[in-house]
Amino acid sequence: MTSLNDDGLRSLWRQDSDALGPLPLAEVKSRATAFNRAIGRRNRREYIAVAFVALIFGLYAAILPGMLLKIGSLLMIGGGFVMAWQLSRHTSRPGPGAEAADVHAYYRAQLVTEERMLARVGLWYIGPLIPGLAVFMAGLASQFDSTLGFAAFTAIPVLAILGVWLLNRRAAAMLREQIARLDAATEGQ
């Protein structure tokens, strides 16, 4: 084994490393185009999901009795559209030019984007669905004989939403720790 100096470490680092499997240029270009198509595909999936929600709640609005259920269904459709629009805005990847920035700037920007997305998940992901869900649930209240039964039924979506919100808040807090550590290291220079 070589000695533990710069050359020794670098020699060790280079030995037994796999060679890069170079992609043919045509394949590189094809994947670069496919990447843009993938964003389109991802957005299409979101639109299909929203269309499904719109179809279901559109049917509810047409066939369910009671004004609250109809209004709640229409609000759910509206909320679904707002959520899909926000999702496509928040999850877009940085362009190729952004990746030529220095790693501190790039990494910090990535963390900040991710932190904002997670910390505000209540506003852009959950929030748009709340009015429709609340009105819809209020419309369902008359279907229950007991208050306890309705409370138990309501608890399921409320707990699910609360869980999503808390998990995302926790993840955002972890990212804030990473950003603070990065900033502290930069200030220490």
């Binding site: 000695s3 060790l12 890069l20 499997g21 990746e99 790693v103």
Partner: protein
């Protein structure tokens, strides 16, 4: 830059830095299949980015930035699933173990230790060490990473001190 120039710059970059990109990928992804995907992602990112390369920095600086930044996006996405925590190099403690003279350690032992340190690091520190192992000068490393050459030197010193404690307790110098 015309597309023909972009293609030529890409071919030059892969010829010059292909091996180094493959080694760098080891520092970001342990799984062989995912590492292959990362290497291919980097090549696509590099070709795309070269359309904006205007020669204001060296080609090597540009290539390293794009490669490391794409790798960072990769590990951030992976972190969402694994919730793995990273640290500054100053906060990493190696578990106590009997030190082994470097001359007697196998290459596998040494590489395992080096990779175990690297994979626990925050991306900026990880990038500094990977560039050091590739033999990139501290000044260029500072330009690539956005930190001063003094910070680069401090991080590398800490890394080598960690290796020394494990492998060269009898005074092998770095």
């Amino acid at each position: 830059m015309t597309e023909a120039e972009q293609d030529q710059a890409f071919s030059d970059a892969i010829t010059r830095f292909g091996g180094a990109i493959a080694r760098m990928a080891r520092g970001y992804e342990a799984d062989a299949d995912l590492r292959r995907d990362l290497e291919q992602d980097i090549q696509v990112a590099l070709w795309q980015s070269l359309a904006r390369f205007d020669g204001r920095c060296a080609l090597s600086t540009w290539v390293w930035r794009v490669a490391h930044n794409r790798a960072i996006s990769h590990i951030i996405a992976r972190q969402r699933h694994s919730r793995r925590r990273w640290s500054n190099i100053e906060d990493i403690d190696l578990p106590d173990a009997d030190p082994t003279p470097f001359d007697h350690a196998t290459s596998d032992q040494a590489m395992t230790l080096i990779l175990s340190i690297i994979e626990r690091l925050d991306p900026p520190d990880r990038q500094i060490l990977l560039l050091y192992l590739e033999g990139v000068a501290a000044t260029e490393t500072g330009e690539i990473t956005g930190v001063s050459p003094e910070v680069v030197a401090t991080k590398i010193h800490r890394f080598k001190a960690m290796l020394t404690r494990r492998f060269a307790p009898m005074g092998d110098t770095l």
